[in-house]
Symmetry: C2
Subunit: 271 residues, 2 copies
């Protein structure tokens, strides 16, 4: 079992599951929901500043809303205190988190408090997008160009995540598919290609200064947007390849098959 | 610092925080959101069956929706694998959780997967209630009777939680305030009385067979509803006392002040 087989299994019973956000039709708009865990030792080190940890926890969900072309509105934050988190630390955590919420006009609306051996939190973002317009993973078509919003491989370099909300809005009506890169370009592009029933050919990989090509391909937590666009459409970003009919989910780089590896939480407990 | 001081501090900046669910006005209804963590060693023991743990994780959020008089619609489930959870365990967890979701007509819509040293999950329930009708903690008035939906002290006896959704609906338009008992009657009634600006006088405490009065007063995780009702209103449940003007947040039992203690996650790391 890995994350994708579990998700596929659940999706057979619960069809709303599967994209960066759940898309739920309401009267005037489609509502977007996403939930992201941030766990000590997995998503951040205890030594990071609490402001940074709080900021990053909110950024992950906001990035999912960006990937759907949506606008964020509300946020729930549930967290578990660790034995080493004191009041000052929690205040710092909230100040980083609230800084990004205010910047993105997202209101904190509730949550839960518990405790555990490590500090962890779950951030839920609720947003909306114009009816029927959400950017899904499943819309890539043969002939489309593949883009990323910026160079990759930033995770180990602890770059601040900037949720690409403005870009997501600009892609509405232009991109045929979109997702954010949270588990590495190779694995996430495989997911997008599989959801769309197409094959993806990469010509190049834009690598962040100081990172390696392997990191740009397989590290998680980049939070750049990955999207496909019909050839004559002009969009911001870096063109990295093209969509072909081929074999659903297959990804090649410079003509050679790219192994589908990336961050998988199931794998972490297997070794 | 304890849970309540943190919540109060946050509420000054974010007024939506504070009740069992966040209440967010939409066009035709008010939307309800709640997020509840379930953590190994805090909310359940590893030895419990995965079905029971999954069921209980969903029940906690559904109970919050019940306490607001609402109807649940959608659910997000984020979980962290522990080193000891295998595929069969995760399947059991989902089967318990999905059993209650189907029973309450709640659709699983998404979530997140991660890993941690202990198994944990966060369940988000999204529901709705008739506009302006949500049962809040702040509506108790002097002269009201205080009710609970059943005998208390069940936590240590591992009774299955039954979210009181039908009762919540029956209380709409009748109860002046309502909440579910998750941290013990004494502490939760104190919270309700404080939110309403009133004092609460308990005449009696209905104790579950096999539990002690102390457990009925101070143990968490009962998930019975606690509500206040004008004297001539007929509602299901057990009358346990009355609301008086007095001192906001003060609770007495048979005339004597009741200490405000109950489950507090901040306290767990203090000793």
């Amino acid at each position: 079992m890995n994350e994708d087989t579990l998700t596929r299994k659940l999706r057979r019973r619960w069809p709303l599951i599967g994209d960066d956000c759940a898309v739920i039709p309401a009267r005037a708009v489609d509502l977007l929901f996403t939930s992201d865990l941030s766990i000590e030792g997995v998503h951040f080190a205890r030594q990071s500043s609490p402001q940074e940890i709080g900021y990053r926890a909110a950024a992950r969900g906001l990035s999912d809303v960006a990937a759907m072309g949506g606008v964020p509105h509300y946020c729930l934050v549930s967290f578990a205190l660790a034995p080493w988190t004191d009041q000052r630390w929690i205040d710092g955590f909230y100040s980083g988190l609230e800084k990004l919420l205010r910047k993105t006009k997202t209101a904190l609306a509730g949550g839960d408090i518990s405790h555990a051996r490590e500090f962890l939190c779950d951030v839920v973002i609720w947003g909306s997008v114009e009816k029927g317009k959400a950017l899904l993973r499943s819309g890539a078509r043969p002939g489309n160009d593949i883009y990323v919003s910026g160079p990759l491989g930033g995770w180990r370099h602890k770059r601040a995540i900037v949720p690409r909300l403005d870009l997501g809005r600009k892609l509405l009506g232009k991109a045929t598919s979109c997702m954010d890169i949270s588990d590495g370009l190779a694995l996430d592009l495989h997911r997008l290609a599989l959801a769309s029933g197409v094959e993806a050919h990469l010509d190049s990989v834009p690598v962040l200064k100081g990172a390696t090509r392997k990191q740009a391909l397989h590290d998680g937590e980049d939070y750049q947007l990955l999207y496909t666009v019909p050839p004559r459409e002009r969009v911001p970003g870096i063109r990295i390849g093209s969509v072909v009919e081929g074999q659903p989910g297959r990804v090649t780089l410079e003509g050679k098959p790219l192994p589908v590896i990336g961050y998988d939480h199931f794998r972490q407990h297997r070794s």
